[in-house]
């Protein structure tokens, strides 16, 4: 069975290789091949899942070692995979949602002449993401980690002719690299501490390492997670990443890749468990991002950017949960999966809307679309209900658990975190309702595109609709499924689980959650449902304006890193030219000047030279005599 693991990755990798190297002759059929291979991977995943279910809970992990990747004295990195319940969950999410989005892309990218390459990149992404979650050591995980970064770079910048897309892609990669730095340093510390970076031995030996080391590793891993999962302070790339085609936003920047940070933290559970300080920082980052993303999501008029803010916020939930320790890990993953369904569905819905509206993204130019795009409306609506935590839908179950766990953290921290998650839930309800109302309700505020064509909203082709429907089903059912089918027990052998002792009862938390949700929805309805939405955005309060600019984070980055960096590099170029090179050239000039002086002695008269020879001889004799005298 374990030999299938490599195939899991191999299928999409093969697809990527064939599609990218195959050339134009695959233009006609390439997308089918890519989709097929993603589906093959999904089927293999299902087979492995079925196999795993058949085993006892403690014996479910599979290992496969292909070969030794980097063999150096004292340092061994294997090309080896580990498939346990946590990885399995991800495999199914990635291949499942991935396959659906492949199908969706067939329709969405139909008119793009570079569709073959798009599918190649998508397959590359799936392969890299699978490598990330299947790796059995941190270095191989790093391989996958950067692989998804590359795929993300390529896909964000897929429409490279747009400078904004190219810039966004570059920004995403570079910000991610800052996070990657954290991951590499974490691996280095692990290596010097444990002498290995394979999951099993490292996690087993955490008990013997000093807390300081573990805290350092934990914080570095958190830095990595911040980069990949767009958490404060490395969140700035996610909004810009929406320049990529919508299926990309759905798959990579909502459902899978951005959750890799959560995976990393949950995977390193033992390290964090032994480093409470690091855990505290994790929860703080999660809490801050949760509010940050939510606030940004409220202010954006671009439907995809609003959803991106929401993604950030939801991942904040997950990170927060992961920071809570054993009481939260399972729920972080649970929310991750349900979020994967409903956020992917929301993005696909947004893509469908854009598809029908001449690629317009400004929600202020939508309105009243529910009649024109009924299926999109329904699927989007179900996703909406899921995300705001409407009772019974998937988001309700997963988010509720996180809020509960946050309170269960205990002490002042618990109260603060719990309150933050509740506020987050309220804001989530508010901004999602805002999106919903501005897009599907109210009067039409449609505008002609730059070519003067009025939009003709229509339902999308079947290849796009079917994935949306399937994801909507997932958004509705996943939560209940997990809640009642023993998801906790499924993951427990990997992540560990502990029941928290909440200072307030579960029922009270649930009630509060529903209450703040209703509050948020109501507020949004008052603002956007009862009043007409202006086509041109009002100036808004200071907070709104700041939120529109991503709470000035970009401005800060620009002022400090971009401008500062530009000045630094310019001055270094100057230093290199004038100072480092200048010293050398100065020496050369000095020698030249000196020889210019000395040259005057060379007057060309043989007699002058003879005098110097003669004098030299005299000096030599004198020297000889002196030497003898001494």
């Amino acid at each position: 069975m374990e030999n299938l693991i490599a195939l899991l990755i191999g299928a999409p990798l093969l697809g990527a290789a064939v599609l990218l190297l195959g050339g134009r002759r695959l233009d006609k059929s390439g997308h089918w091949l890519g989709t097929l291979l993603a589906a093959v991977s999904f089927v293999i995943g299902l087979v492995l899942f079925a196999d795993m279910l058949g085993k006892s809970a403690d014996d479910r992990a599979l290992h496969q070692t292909l070969y030794t990747w980097i063999p150096v004295e004292g340092f061994q990195a294997d090309m080896a995979f580990q498939l346990d319940q946590l990885s399995m969950t991800f495999v199914l999410l990635i291949t499942g949602v991935g396959t659906l989005i492949h199908v969706y892309s067939i329709g969405y990218m139909e008119h793009d002449e570079r569709r073959r390459r798009f599918f190649g990149y998508l397959n590359l992404f799936v392969a890299a993401m699978l490598l990330l979650v299947l790796a059995d050591n941190y270095l191989l995980l790093y391989f996958g980690w950067e692989g998804v970064g590359l795929a993300s770079y390529l896909l964000i910048g897929f429409w490279q002719h747009k400078p904004s897309a190219a810039t966004a892609a570059k920004k995403a990669f570079i910000v991610n690299r800052v996070g990657d730095m954290g991951l590499s340093i974490a691996i280095m510390i692990m290596f010097t501490t444990f002498g290995t970076f394979t999951f099993g031995p490292v996690l087993a030996a955490t008990g013997e390492a000093s807390e300081g080391k573990l805290t350092a590793i934990g914080l570095m891993l958190l830095l990595a997670a911040c980069g990949k999962s767009a958490q404060v302070p490395l969140q700035s790339w996610l909004g810009d990443a929406m320049e990529g085609p919508t299926p990309v936003s759905a798959l990579i920047h909502a459902a899978t890749m951005v959750t890799a940070g959560v995976y990393l933290i949950v995977r390193s559970a033992d390290i964090f468990n032994a480093a409470p300080d690091a855990q505290l920082v994790v929860t703080v980052v999660g809490a801050v991002t949760l509010l940050f993303g939510a606030i940004v999501g409220c202010a954006k008029d671009d439907i995809k950017k609003a959803l991106a803010g929401s993604t950030m916020s939801q991942i904040g939930y997950m990170i927060l949960a992961a920071g809570l320790g054993p009481i939260g890990y399972v729920f972080a993953i649970m929310h991750l999966v349900t979020h994967g369904f409903f956020k992917a569905g929301l993005f696909l819905g947004a893509g469908s809307v854009m598809h029908g509206m001449n690629d317009e993204v400004d929600m202020r130019r939508y309105g009243g679309l529910r009649k024109y795009m009924p299926v999109t409306f329904i699927t989007f609506g179900l996703g909406y209900l899921a995300i705001i935590g409407f009772p019974g839908l998937s988001g309700f179950f997963s988010k509720d658990k996180i809020i509960e766990a946050a309170f269960a953290k205990g002490g002042t921290e618990g109260w603060i975190l719990g309150t933050v998650t509740l506020i987050g839930a309220a804001i989530t309800a508010y901004y999602m309702t805002r999106v919903m109302l501005m897009t599907f309700f109210g009067e039409k505020r449609w505008q002609d595109d730059e070519n003067g064509r009025p939009p003709h909203p229509h339902e999308s082709p079947r290849s796009m609709v079917i994935p949306m429907v399937l994801l909507a089903v997932g958004s509705v059912a996943a939560g209940a499924l997990f809640e009642f089918s023993g998801f906790v027990e499924w993951l427990e052998p990997v992540t560990g689980f502990a029941h928290g002792h909440s200072p307030i009862s579960a029922a009270a938390v649930t009630t509060a959650t529903i209450a703040v949700m209703v509050l948020g929805v109501g507020l949004a309805y008052v603002q956007y449902g009862r009043r007409p939405v202006p086509v041109v955005a009002p100036r808004g309060s200071l907070l709104t304006r700041a939120a529109r600019r991503d709470l000035l984070q970009d401005d800060f980055n620009h002022a400090v890193f971009v401008t500062g960096g530009t000045h630094l590099t310019r001055s270094l170029v100057y230093v290199d030219h004038s100072l480092v090179d200048g010293v050398v050239n100065g020496t050369a000039a000095a020698v030249g000047g000196l020889s210019g002086r000395l040259r005057k002695l060379q007057n060309g008269y043989a007699r002058t030279y003879a005098v110097s020879m003669f004098g030299g001889t005299a000096v030599l004799i004198a020297a000889t005599l002196l030497m003898r005298a001494v």
Partner: protein, 99 residues
């Protein structure tokens, strides 16, 4: 008298010859001064030969003469051809070595 005086004489002649090389501009005279220096050396050689009681010094002096003869032949030929080309036997006129 001590035969060392021959050596002092040789040294004196050599120095006079060297100074002559330095201050005269006529190539022929310069050349003569070189010959004077060579002769001074020969005198020293011969004196040393007598001093040490063997003939090697004289042999060297003999060789010096032969080489001096060869040198004179070539040197004068050069002077003549330079004179033909430049109508001057002044060593200062041939100052092409300067940059």
């Amino acid at each position: 008298m001590n035969p060392v005086n021959y050596l002092y004489l040789a040294a004196l002649l050599f120095t006079i010859g060297a100074v002559g090389v330095l201050i005269r501009r006529n190539a022929i005279v310069v050349f003569m001064c070189v010959e004077l220096m060579l002769n001074a050396c020969n005198l020293a050689f011969v004196t040393f030969s007598r001093m040490h009681g063997n003939l090697d010094g004289q042999v060297i002096a003999f060789f010096t003469m032969v080489v001096a003869a060869a040198e004179v032949v070539v040197g004068l030929a050069i002077i003549v051809s330079v004179f033909r080309a430049r109508h001057s036997a002044s060593v200062d006129d041939a100052s092409l070595m300067k940059l």
